[in-house]
């Protein structure tokens, strides 16, 4: 029986529920003589290090050594592309930046030692937000630009408006903080357990810092306790420190950031400032859009440039933009280096166009869903970067199916009637679409390799370049391998990700994990399968049915039982100079309807119901896919509502802990939560007809923001705007603004 498409539980579920699943830091007990690391953190957002004397730390009992600039035999810089992240900086670039590390026999000893390192600083002026960066001309990139059509028609549009939108960042809050464990291996080289989405890049950075060739460094990712983009680049520094410590001392070294330090020093989703002008025709179709997008990139480049590109690619969301000019620029500020986070700039780009659609609806006095649906892509239309939107009719199908299944029109009427009767507690409902481009926009990342081993007893080990962070990649890989080889699921073991099994891997990111690695694994399995078929053909009738017997026969006939598989995504290209191309292999589509209730006295709100219809192609693994949709949606709800990153005047993150930074908990789960997958949705030219599912559902949460806007509007009159996240405070004041007259007390 086929296992692809079956609703199987997560491949690691048993280990998860028993506590037997091991994460990088759970392996400490296997390393006698383990040393623990603690950073020396700078108390300034921007400063010159005028003196750093680590010697006093050595007087602290239990401190073994310190790591400072002179200790790296290679280049002590972890910046992946520009080499712009010194591991031991002489210029502090953000508050709490580590300037040195202390290694101790215990974590407490290392921590006490770090407190004794004598560091002196000369504070320098700091740039702490986008406005300050614009005033100071502080940027990490040149302007990036996409344009299409004649935007000058904007001025003569029937409806013309402009505005500004501030979009907050987001902390990943992977439950497992950054962790790495490094030791000298049997050959005297370096081995690292790292909680990383990108083992090959972690290997590259460790090799760079130690001045070693890459074959001297082995990185293994056992599994991750969540990542969401936050361990794509940001895992490298912890691994580099652990490796440098192990190299220097010859002893195993563990780095595990505490939550407070992790939040203080690792990058987040980029805050954005967007300035826009939009023109609409009288029939509510968009005529032209002009916008400037500024992101707060923090102190170093990281992935900020491709993130801005993806924001620019997604300013259309699911809407046809006949004339557009969007310019994006990454600001350099004295903050953590903002990084990848589920959606990778797409969410910020989409929030802009959804703001524009909502305001157009209010200004034209039309229901927002009408304005949105009139602008949805139609078959044959192309994006503002020239890529035809294949299967655009799926968007319309999803829209109408979801409106019907969620009883959208009837509920909206019922809500309007109820709101008229309730002065202080009101409800609102909204529907929003998502179209999300699938592929890394850096073309060369769109490749994957796999190495599949079949043993004589018919059991299988699958190695591939993807990492498991909870998204269910290993479950899907196991299913793909089992079906392609034609064996039972239990025969297939998916190995942890190691750079000595599959080299030069891409990050597990961009929702591409199963598309790329699944195809590579299937390629390897098909090679073995065809070799085995030849062997089986020569076997007596009863015997060839038994997979193990065929494997044994193949072995005895000297037929190889291992194979490398490979996959490269076909037909994708993009030219950043012209802003034209086909950067995406295909688009993922979906839509959500959300209903919320707001208490006008306080601004407090509750999400009452959400209905989602998502196009995942032919689902490889329905339980996994539904989990991605629900989890991504709730994570998006957090980003747009209660998750608020705040920095104080000194540039210190004021919300650096779970008690001050609130992620969604049980109280944010809507009591009614219906998730459906689009039927008859097989996607040609993608592994087994499936579509990517990791990132797109996050942006379905925009339906919650738009439902909040509907409720606020019901409290009064006027155009409703509020920045993101829509905290209870922002909703409270938005209600106050639209309440022309507060209802008189009776």
């Amino acid at each position: 029986m086929k296992v692809v498409g079956q609703p199987l539980p997560h491949e690691g579920a048993r280990g998860h529920v028993t506590g037997e699943a091991l994460y990088a830091d759970d392996l400490c007990g296997r390393f006698p003589g383990l040393l623990h690391a603690w950073p020396v953190l700078a108390p300034h957002a921007h400063a010159r290090v005028t003196r750093l004397d680590a010697a006093p730390a050595l007087e602290e009992p239990g401190v073994v050594t310190t790591l400072t600039a002179g200790d790296a035999p290679g280049e002590a810089n972890t910046g992946p592309n520009r080499h712009d992240e010194p591991l031991f900086p002489d210029e502090v670039m953000f508050h709490q930046q580590p300037v040195a590390w202390v290694l101790g026999e215990t974590l407490d000893a290392a921590r006490r030692g770090a407190a004794r390192v004598a560091a002196e600083y000369e504070p320098l002026p700091a740039v702490l937000d986008i406005e300050q960066a614009l005033a100071a001309g502080s940027y990490l990139t040149a302007p990036l630009r996409l344009a299409d059509g004649d935007v000058s028609v904007l001025e003569s549009s029937a409806l013309r408006f402009e505005g500004e939108l501030r979009i907050g960042g987001q902390e990943h809050f992977y439950l497992e903080t950054q962790a790495a464990l490094a030791w000298r291996d049997e050959a005297g080289y370096i081995a690292v357990y790292s909680s990383t989405q990108h083992p090959s890049e972690t290997q590259e950075i460790v090799a760079r810092v130690l001045g070693l060739p890459r074959h001297a460094v082995t990185v293994e990712c056992p599994r991750m306790g969540g990542a969401f983009g936050g361990k794509e680049v940001q895992a490298n520094a912890s691994a580099a420190v652990a490796a440098l410590g192990a190299w220097k001392t010859g002893r195993p070294v563990r780095v595990r950031l505490t939550r407070a330090i992790d939040m203080a020093i690792t990058g987040k989703r980029h805050p954005f400032l967007v300035r826009y002008a939009a023109g609409f025709n009288a029939d509510a179709t968009l005529r032209a859009l002009r916008a400037e997008l500024y992101s707060d990139g923090g102190w170093s480049l990281d992935l900020s440039e491709p993130i801005m590109w993806r924001a620019l690619f997604h300013v259309d969301n699911a809407y046809r933009l006949p004339a557009v000019e969007v310019v994006g620029r990454v600001c350099r500020t004295h903050k953590t280096s903002q990084t990848a986070f589920r959606g990778f700039g797409g969410p910020q780009g989409m929030l802009l166009i959804e703001e524009v659609m909502a305001q157009a609806a209010q200004r034209l006095a039309l229901p927002a869903d009408v304005v949105r649906s009139r602008n949805l892509y139609r078959e044959g239309q192309a994006t503002h970067y020239g890529e035809r939107v294949d299967d655009a009719e799926r968007m319309g199908t999803i829209w109408s199916q979801l409106k019907s299944s969620s009883a959208f029109e009837a509920r909206r009427a019922e809500i309007a009637a109820a709101n008229a009767r309730s002065a202080h507690v009101k409800r609102g409902i909204a529907i929003t679409p998502v179209k999300f481009g699938i592929s890394f926009t850096a073309q060369f990342y769109n490749q994957a390799a796999a190495y599949v081993l079949v043993y004589r007893d018919g059991t299988v080990q699958v190695n591939h370049g993807g990492t498991e962070m909870g998204q269910g990649l290993f479950t899907k890989i196991q299913q793909i391998a089992a079906d392609t080889l034609g064996v039972a699921l239990a025969r297939v073991r998916v190995m942890s990700t190691r750079t000595d099994k599959v080299p030069n891997t891409s990050a597990t990111a961009a929702s591409s994990g199963s598309d790329l690695n699944g195809a590579a694994v299937a390629d390897a399995c098909r090679q073995i399968r065809s070799r085995l078929a030849a062997v089986a053909a020569g076997m007596p009738d009863g015997e060839w049915r038994e997979f193990a017997a065929v494997c044994e026969a193949a072995y005895r006939q000297r037929v190889p039982l291992s194979a490398s598989g490979f996959y490269r995504t076909p037909d994708i290209h993009f030219d950043p100079r012209t802003g034209r191309g086909r950067p995406f292999h295909y688009y993922a589509f979906g839509a959500a309807v959300s209903e919320v209730e707001v208490d006008g006295f306080t601004g407090a709100y509750r999400l009452l119901r959400t209905d989602i219809l998502e196009d995942v192609g032919d689902s490889l693994s329905p339980v996994v896919d539904r989990g991605q949709i629900e989890g991504g949606f709730i994570q998006g709800v957090g980003w747009l509502t209660i998750e608020e990153l705040l920095w104080d005047e000194a540039g210190r993150l004021a919300t650096a802990g779970a008690s001050t930074y609130k992620l969604p908990s049980w109280s944010e789960l809507p009591p009614v939560f219906n998730v459906s997958l689009l039927e008859r949705a097989a996607m040609p030219h993608v592994i087994m007809g499936s579509k990517a599912v990791g990132e797109p559902p996050l942006m379905l949460a925009i339906s919650v923001r738009e439902a909040l806007r509907e409720v606020v509007a019901a409290f009064g009159s006027g155009v409703v705007t509020f920045d993101s996240p829509a905290t209870p405070e922002r909703i409270f004041f938005a209600v106050q603004r639209v309440r022309a007259l507060r209802p008189a007390l009776t």
Partner: protein
């Protein structure tokens, strides 16, 4: 068993004086039991959750309480019996809670899962549970992957707890906490001993459930020359309700207040539900909440609205103090050196109307931006007595006496609301911080008065 030892999954573990102030989580993980994990080190995420066998209302029997092992300083485990996720499967056969979580797709990355499993297991084994497992029981666990729906389904799928070693264990009494006195840690058995210890060790710090102290330990690496645990003092665990008053022992965990004060006004039960999460309420105490004197603590506003009286013991005997006089400044109280809270008394009859409002970013388990405790007695159309007590609007919890005078003796109507709001405009001086701006704090405080009025009308 030595004075500083506990039983972990049936095996005795020595704590050792050096580890007395080490988080229990670290000690457990050093035993090779790595299921419990550090997620936040603040008692917010529940990834470190473990089960403590604790006394139950049923004589001679016991119950499983979920606690955050990251906040529990190891010495506080002395004499206790503790189980981790590793103890829940029997001979490789998963427990119901584990099977339900795995089957429902309740784990993705799996890092938070042992904590959820432990909470779900305790909820399934809750002796007074009659209906399905309550979602609220899992409110002390955070998951970043699933969005909670499958975990909700797993909880809903659980029936009665099946027979098993842990269920049978609950038919026997929990270990009785004995007095402990070792270097740097004491657990006296009486108030008298405790006061004497306080007098003898001036640098000693009292500890109840350590839900605040544990955070100081983890975030600021704080250690204390001497800790005195009040958990073994029976008098501090009392709860009595008579026609004249309710008396709540200062060290009674918050959970038990709700369980034992069954006929309390709805406001009290709502207040307790908003007061931390279940693992926090299993450990946190009202005495600790008041003595830490946080301006955003949830305890004071409602207790002020109820005219609570604090019972204090000290070197020169016992005294009582109205709660309105207790907070003397930011994180400062009227406790003299050597004094301790022993009980919180709530006089009866209770006000005709009492409410507690909490404004926060997240609806559950968040710290107040603003809290309001309000009570009102109206006689023949005239306000006889009103209390407006706020958290989050000043350096201390604040009873706004002027607003009481503004409505006293007059009718309770829209004009009275406006008069209270006018007083708040003049007297509240909130500050801006990461929880809310000063403008929001002031405006929402005024708005809450109106909300209270409106809800009373309708």
């Amino acid at each position: 068993m030595s004075a500083l030892a506990f039983v972990l999954n049936g095996r005795e573990v020595e704590i050792g004086e050096a580890a007395a102030q080490t988080p229990l989580l670290d000690l457990i993980r050093e035993q090779g039991l790595t299921g419990a994990k550090e997620g936040c080190a603040e008692g917010e995420c529940g990834a470190c959750a473990v089960l403590v066998v604790d006394a139950d209302g049923r004589p001679g029997k016991s119950a499983l309480r979920v606690v955050n092992s990251c906040l529990m300083l190891s010495a506080l485990a002395a004499g206790r019996e503790i189980y981790t996720v590793e103890a829940l499967a029997t001979n490789g056969v998963l427990s119901d809670a584990q099977r339900a979580m795995a089957g429902a797709g309740g784990s993705q990355c799996g890092y938070c899962t042992p904590g959820f499993v432990v909470s779900l297991f305790a909820e399934q084994h809750r002796p007074d549970r009659t209906g399905p497992c309550e979602d609220e029981a899992l409110a002390g666990n955070l998951c970043r992957c699933t969005g909670y729906r499958p975990i909700h389904d797993a909880a809903a799928a659980l029936g009665a707890a099946p027979d098993g070693p842990l269920l049978r264990r609950l038919e026997r009494a929990a270990p009785v906490l004995h007095a402990v006195s070792v270097g740097g840690f004491s657990r006296p058995a009486t108030v008298g001993e405790c006061v004497a210890l306080l007098a003898a060790t001036l640098d000693a710090r009292l500890v109840g459930g350590a839900t605040d102290l544990g955070v100081e330990r983890n975030l600021r690496a704080k250690t204390w020359p001497h800790l005195i645990s009040v958990e073994a003092i029976d008098e501090l665990q009392q709860f009595t309700s008579t026609p004249e008053r309710v008396l709540i022992g200062a060290a009674l965990p918050l959970r038990e207040i709700g369980e034992r004060w069954r006929d309390a006004p709805d406001a009290v039960h709502e207040w307790l539900t908003l007061f931390g999460s279940p693992p926090i309420r299993n450990r946190a105490t009202l005495g600790g909440n008041l003595a830490t004197a946080s301006p955003v603590g949830d305890g004071a506003p409602l207790l002020m609205a109820l005219d609570a009286v604090l019972h204090i013991a000290g070197p020169s005997g016992s005294r009582t103090l109205p709660i309105a006089q207790f907070f003397t400044g930011y994180r400062k109280t009227a406790l003299m050196p050597g004094e301790m809270l022993t009980a919180i008394e709530i006089p009866k009859p209770l006000p005709q109307s009492v409410r507690f409002f909490k404004i926060a970013k997240r609806r559950a388990d968040d710290i107040s931006t603003v809290a309001l405790g309000v009570s009102l007695d109206v006689d023949r159309g005239r306000v006889r007595r009103a209390r407006w007590a706020f958290g989050g609007v000043a350096a201390t919890p604040l009873r706004v006496v002027e607003a009481e005078a503004a409505v006293s003796g007059g009718p309770w109507n829209a004009d009275a609301v406006a008069r209270v709001q006018a007083v708040l405009d003049k007297t509240l001086r909130p500050v801006s911080d990461h929880r809310g701006s000063k403008e929001y704090r002031l405006e929402v405080s005024k708005s809450l008065v109106e909300k209270y009025y409106w809800e009373l009308q309708s």
